[in-house]
Assembly symmetry: C2
Homo-oligomer: 227 residues x 2
């Protein structure tokens, strides 16, 4: 219940920093908290960047969000998770989520583009050590894949918890960037004979494929058919 | 015409290196050149990682492929492109492309996953300085958005070429990684009452939205209706 008189309200926007103000197309950048959350919540996979031996590494990975905190999990043997656990104070990361909404076909090659929405989070990732927070984070990771799913699955047992590392990254130094709208051709190109416009990309769900070993009578749950 | 008797054939696979052999799930890794190319060619946006002031930065950007070379372009003022042009010898980057194909819902929270295909390219990005290669790269970038499109658009003029920086990254230290198949629950969980299976993600194209200023009589080209 953010913004009510009973709870301290957060600012509606993140504070821009040197790293979150883009050098290019600053008009496409936004620091709006709700927009950032909506872009994050719509994605399945983020791209997590970190530095290893002085060189960048970018790996796709699942993530979850609880309020202003993102979680990434993996095996305790996985490289960035091990590095976040060992690094003091934490592991500098950059976490990026991108959706491509449409292809933008201009008359000029130069003005070809895509309509997209992205969020870039800069910060430091730390190991989640509190067992309660770890459980909350794992639920958030499952619910990020399918909302409501964590309540309809067997929770992690002690062995699985021990084999799983979770790191967190707070939403603090954050920006969204988006291109929307139509073609931006030069006025002198408008009469050219090339077709120009948007080609929207559609995303959707196929038919659920049940596991062959499913117990007899197990039906597709409502939270899946509702998607 | 790779592999014919007239041209030298490339090995069918990239050579694994310390950076391209994953610490986790090595059975999911592949170095197959054709698989890598197919994953790269299917994407619209890559996530380009580089190091700035010691911290990682991951930005979404368009890309194109010509044989074993990837191209990324942007304004001459854009940060990574400027850095690649100034850095000597080049800018260390990591370029990652990921497709999510299905959500994997297991009976146990622990075994939730997604089916995905990704390519991670490690290497050094350099400025493209040869004007001919720059034109080839820009065509590849447009054709990556829609195959065949570069021939049906106005090529970049001198001013646009001067405003555009292009960097290249060779496919050398490369791996693909994929999760395919069904649910991997523990045998003792199979009788649990939770629905388990795959939820495929579908991708497709919507109806083209013509630019309002389109010249009269300009019809949607065949290469778009064919998509």
């Amino acid at each position: 219940m953010q913004g009510t008189s009973e709870t301290p309200s957060r600012p509606a926007a993140y504070t821009p920093t040197d790293r979150t103000v883009p050098t290019r197309s600053p008009q496409r950048a936004s620091y709006d908290r709700e927009l950032v959350h909506s872009i994050l919540d719509e994605g399945y996979v983020c791209h997590l960047g970190f530095v290893r031996d002085g060189a960048p590494v970018v790996l796709p990975t699942l993530y979850g969000r609880v309020g202003e905190r993102l979680y990434v999990h993996g095996s305790t043997g996985s490289r960035p998770l091990r590095m976040a656990g060992q690094a003091d104070p934490g592991l500098p990361v950059c976490l990026t989520v991108t959706h491509v909404d449409a292809l933008v076909l201009a008359r000029s090659a130069f003005h070809h583009s895509v309509n997209y929405r992205s969020v870039v989070v800069h910060g430091t990732a730390y190991d989640v050590t509190d067992p309660e927070e770890k459980r909350t984070a794992l639920d958030a990771l499952v619910d990020h894949v399918v909302p409501g799913r964590s309540r309809d699955s067997r929770p992690a047992n002690r062995k699985e918890l021990a084999a799983t590392a979770v790191i967190y990254l707070d939403l603090d130094e954050v920006s969204a960037k988006a291109r929307t709208g139509g073609v931006n051709d030069e006025p002198e190109d408008l009469a050219l004979p090339h077709w120009a416009g948007l080609l929207p990309l559609r995303k959707g769900y196929g038919t659920p494929v049940p596991d062959p070993d499913l117990s007899a009578g197990t039906t597709v749950p409502d939270y899946l058919t509702a998607l």
